[in-house]
């Protein structure tokens, strides 16, 4: 593909990734949140694919496919399993209400751009300039983790963080060595599985997967 298309596709998909992150903060319905996550995963795959095609890097193409499968399909389905069992499947009372969260998201995005100046300066390619998007997605994910009560939305937050970092990895270095990349995504998959198992057990024990009940252990 030609260069302008390449850059626009990259930019577009990065934008989508951040947008999905914001959506996670925005929507209350857990299903919607999971859907957003799935979309983000696909966008991430798209980024990897574009980079791979543009850089004629077959390894990266493989990774793209892998990401598509893992983050676009498998992970969301795993999570929806939990949601399906969950009765009140809405993030009704986030610790920070939605408008405030969106403002925070804005601030975090700004911070991401400010903080990654040194990186963009170093990787001055078309892809390099997009790195802040990855950082932003990561920060927003972290924010979701810290403010959302439902187990599901916390898992999603974790995955947002992960996608963000993966995006940075792709953009900055066109993929860290394959073995590491594989290890990383495998780990993510495993973590989701573990969390899903734990969430199921939680539901069996506590009836719901509301994380506020996890305050037995304290000083």
């Amino acid at each position: 593909m030609n260069h302008s298309a390449y850059t626009s596709v990259l930019g577009l998909s990065c934008g989508v990734i951040v947008l999905c992150a914001v959506v996670v903060l925005w929507r209350r319905s857990l299903r919607a949140i999971v859907r957003a996550l799935a979309v983000q995963g696909m966008a991430l795959a798209l980024v990897a694919l574009t980079l791979g095609l543009h850089g004629h890097d077959d390894g990266l193409v493989v990774v793209a496919v892998l990401v598509l499968v893992a983050k676009g399909a498998v992970v969301p389905t795993l999570i929806t399993r939990i949601v399906r069992h969950d009765v009140a499947s809405r993030e009704t009372q986030p610790l920070v209400n939605v408008p405030a969260s969106l403002v925070a998201a804005g601030v975090l995005i700004f911070l991401a751009f400010a903080a990654s100046r040194s990186i963009t300066a170093l990787a001055s390619s078309a892809s390099g300039r997009l790195i802040p998007y990855g950082m932003a997605a990561m920060l927003i994910g972290f924010f979701a983790l810290a403010t959302r009560r439902k187990a599901v939305s916390q898992i999603v937050g974790l995955l947002l963080v992960d996608n963000g970092i993966a995006l940075v990895a792709f953009l900055a270095t066109a993929g860290v060595p394959l073995i590491v990349e594989l290890g990383a995504s495998l780990d993510v998959l495993l973590i989701v599985v573990v969390l899903q198992v734990l969430a199921t057990q939680m539901r069996l024990r506590l009836g719901s997967v509301d994380l506020d009940q996890l305050a037995e252990l304290h000083d």
Binding site: L111, F142, L211, H218
Partner: protein
């Protein structure tokens, strides 16, 4: 065998004693351990005496011990002085232990910590590098802590005393460590030699910091006000041989530390350092003696009087520093000799007193003077020894305490008109403090001896008291004998002290003391003839006694009932108690002591003019403890309760910590670019 070799072989003996103490079955344990401990003391003091005789320090180094630093021992004459001091207390205390052991001091852990404790006490003065010193120092702290806790299963007081002692000791050690490390950081190496050679080049501020840190650290070990609070808690709770060692020897090592830093490592300092030391000494002496005069618990009284005596030692030390700082080296040396002698004699009489007190506790099961009395008849030898100890601590001629105070007084006396204004102001005050301390000490110990041992028993326990086993009397007796010998013939000790001082202080010049039969200060007109004094006292007593016998017609002595103001049958409860004895002093120093008195009167039902019963209680609390320590403890506790909110159990909160940290990091990095 070289003295360095002796040193190490002594230490090895100590270790062996500890192992034996842990290994042997109960029957043999104490005897064998005690034997080994005494052997350790003997070997170490032989090494020390060798050093004192030749003046050459005993060296020993091993690069195979203590990772990253290696272990270094070097016994200087000063250190040797303290090794001898420790041995002087340790040998009798260990003898005493043999008899005392059956009263709950024969457990494996106790026996081996006792052995280790003595070994540590003996080797600390020989330590010649930061790591070695701190290692031995902490071993000493740890073992003594274990020993203070010996009675933890029986007495709650022992438990809390343990905590107090442990915490204060640990904080003190931290101060000492900091002082050492500032020096070490400057000098690169960590051996005392390196520290000493570089310390002079250190900035005055840093030197002062080092000195003050060391002063606090070692002061807390020496039980100097305001770090004394652990003594009256720990000394009474520890088993008596241990109290004797802690109060006689360990506390003295605190003063050793101050000398080590002030005179050896830092090589002297400006006048104001020593004025602080002087002030600390004066305050401690007064505070200690005042509280000693007002305590009724025998061992608590002794503990406070330890603070008092350490105060005197610091007084002498401060004066010495003052004189050296103003260029009067010989006087400085004289005061330092005085300090050493005071420590030496304190070790002797305080040891004797604590051991005697322990015997009383064993015989009567009581420590409260208001429950004792009439023990001199029931325990004649222990009683006599306590009287000797009391006379020595009251600095009455011809006992050792007197010589110490004379030396101190002389050095102060000749220190006036040195032309340094602070000195001229400080020294009269110091003399006054010394004098008042002496007076209050007499109150305290007339009370202790008179109420405890004379008169009539105030409790069935005291009624049933019998003399303690031989080994205990032997241990106490040894120390009592030392008190007399050191008082009658101080020339036996002073040359050694003097050599130590001359090896410690720079350009002392000629000897500050000439000693034959009489003690003569060189350069000033001051002579003390202790032997002659003692002799003439004895002669006079014999003469007067003879005259009394000769002049009286009837030789027989009729036993009569005491005068009860016309009342028949005077009961033991009518005697003056320790509380009532101290009452006048208590009143005089009301504002300082703030005693807590409560009187409750209950009337008979019929008329409120007829008393049914009336009870009077009076308690003197340590105001420094309540003013300085209690607030700190409560604030820390409150903070601890408050801080628990940091960990409320919510995973969101925990993640928020992380998020905040991350945001801050990113912001900082963004700023740094």
């Amino acid at each position: 065998m070289t003295s360095g070799g002796l040193l190490t072989c002594g230490a090895l003996l100590g270790l062996a004693a500890a192992l034996v103490g842990a290994a042997l079955p109960r029957r043999k344990r104490v005897l064998v351990t005690a034997a080994l401990v005494i052997a350790t003391c003997v070997v170490e003091s032989v090494a020390a005496i060798g050093v004192l005789a030749t003046g050459h320090p005993a060296q020993w180094h091993s690069s195979q011990l203590l990772p990253m630093t290696g272990a270094t021992l070097a016994l200087t004459p000063l250190g040797a002085m303290f090794v001898v001091l420790v041995a002087l207390v340790a040998v009798p205390a260990t003898l005493y232990w043999i008899g005392y052991a059956r009263h709950g001091m024969s457990a494996r852990l106790t026996a081996s910590s006792y052995a280790l404790f003595v070994a540590a006490l003996l080797t600390v003065p020989a330590a010649a590098s930061v790591a070695t010193f701190m290692f031995l120092w902490e071993i000493m702290a740890l073992t003594s802590l274990a020993l203070v806790l010996t009675d933890q299963s029986r007495r709650a007081a022992a438990r809390s005393a343990g905590v107090w002692y442990g915490v204060i000791t640990h904080i003190g050690a931290a101060f000492i460590l900091a002082a050492f490390l500032i020096l070490a950081a400057h000098s690169g190496g960590q051996s005392f030699a390196a520290l000493e050679s570089h310390a002079r080049a250190l900035a005055p501020g840093a030197r002062a910091a080092v000195f003050l840190l060391a002063l606090v650290g070692f002061g807390s070990k020496a039980g100097v006000v305001p770090f004394h609070v652990w003594l009256p808690k720990a000394h009474p709770e520890a088993p008596s041989p241990v109290s004797a060692l802690m109060s006689g020897a360990m506390v003295a090592l605190g003063v050793y530390g101050i000398v080590l830093f002030g005179d050896v490592l830092l090589g002297g300092g400006p006048v104001w350092w020593w004025l602080i030391v002087l002030a600390l000494g004066a305050v401690s002496a007064l505070f200690g003696s005042l509280h000693a005069a007002n305590s009724t618990d025998l061992k608590r009284l002794l503990a406070y009087s330890t603070t008092d005596n350490m105060g005197l030692a610091l007084l002498a030390l401060g004066a010495s520093g003052l004189f050296v700082a103003t260029g009067h080296h010989r006087l400085g040396a004289l005061s330092l000799v005085a300090a050493l002698f005071i420590l030496m004699s304190h070790a002797m009489f305080k040891g004797a007193l604590f051991l005697a007190a322990g015997s009383v506790q064993v015989a009567t099961g009581r420590r409260d003077l208001d429950e004792l009395g009439g023990l001199l008849r029931r325990m004649p030898q222990t009683g006599a020894l306590f009287l000797i100890g009391a006379a020595s601590i009251c600095a009455l001629p011809p006992f050792n305490g007197f010589v110490g105070e004379w030396l101190l007084f002389q050095s102060l006396l000749h220190g006036v008109k040195l032309g340094s204004t602070p000195g001229d102001i400080a020294i009269p005050v110091a003399v006054a403090a010394l004098a008042l301390t002496a007076g209050l000490t007499i109150v305290a110990f007339v009370k202790a001896a008179g109420v405890g041992f004379l008169g009539r028993p105030r409790s069935p326990g005291a009624e049933a008291a019998i003399e303690v086993p031989r080994s205990m009397r032997a241990g106490t007796g040894l120390l009592g004998a030392m008190c007399v010998v050191a008082g009658v013939a101080p020339m036996a000790i002073l040359p050694a002290a003097e050599r130590a001082v001359r090896a410690t202080l720079p350009d002392v010049g000629s000897t500050p003391l000439a000693h034959g039969v009489q003690l003569q200060l060189v350069g000033v007109r001051a002579v003390l003839a202790p032997t002659v004094l003692a002799a003439s006292l004895v002669v006079a007593v014999l003469l007067v006694a003879f005259l009394r016998q000769a002049l009286t017609r009837r030789r027989d002595v009729r036993v009569a009932e005491a005068w009860g103001c016309g009342r028949e049958l005077v009961t033991a409860r009518m005697q003056y108690t320790a509380t009532s004895f101290a009452e006048p002093v208590q009143r005089v120093f009301d504002d300082v002591l703030r005693p807590v008195r409560d009187i409750d009167v209950s009337h008979v039902a019929e008329s409120r003019y007829v008393l049914e019963s009336m009870s009077y209680r009076s308690r003197v609390d340590d105001r420094i403890e309540s003013a300085l320590y209690t607030p700190v403890i409560t604030t820390v506790r409150r903070w601890g309760q408050f801080a628990r909110r940091l960990q409320p159990g919510s995973v969101h909160r925990y993640l928020a910590y992380g998020l905040v940290a991350l945001v801050i990091t990113l912001a900082v990095v963004a700023v740094l670019g």
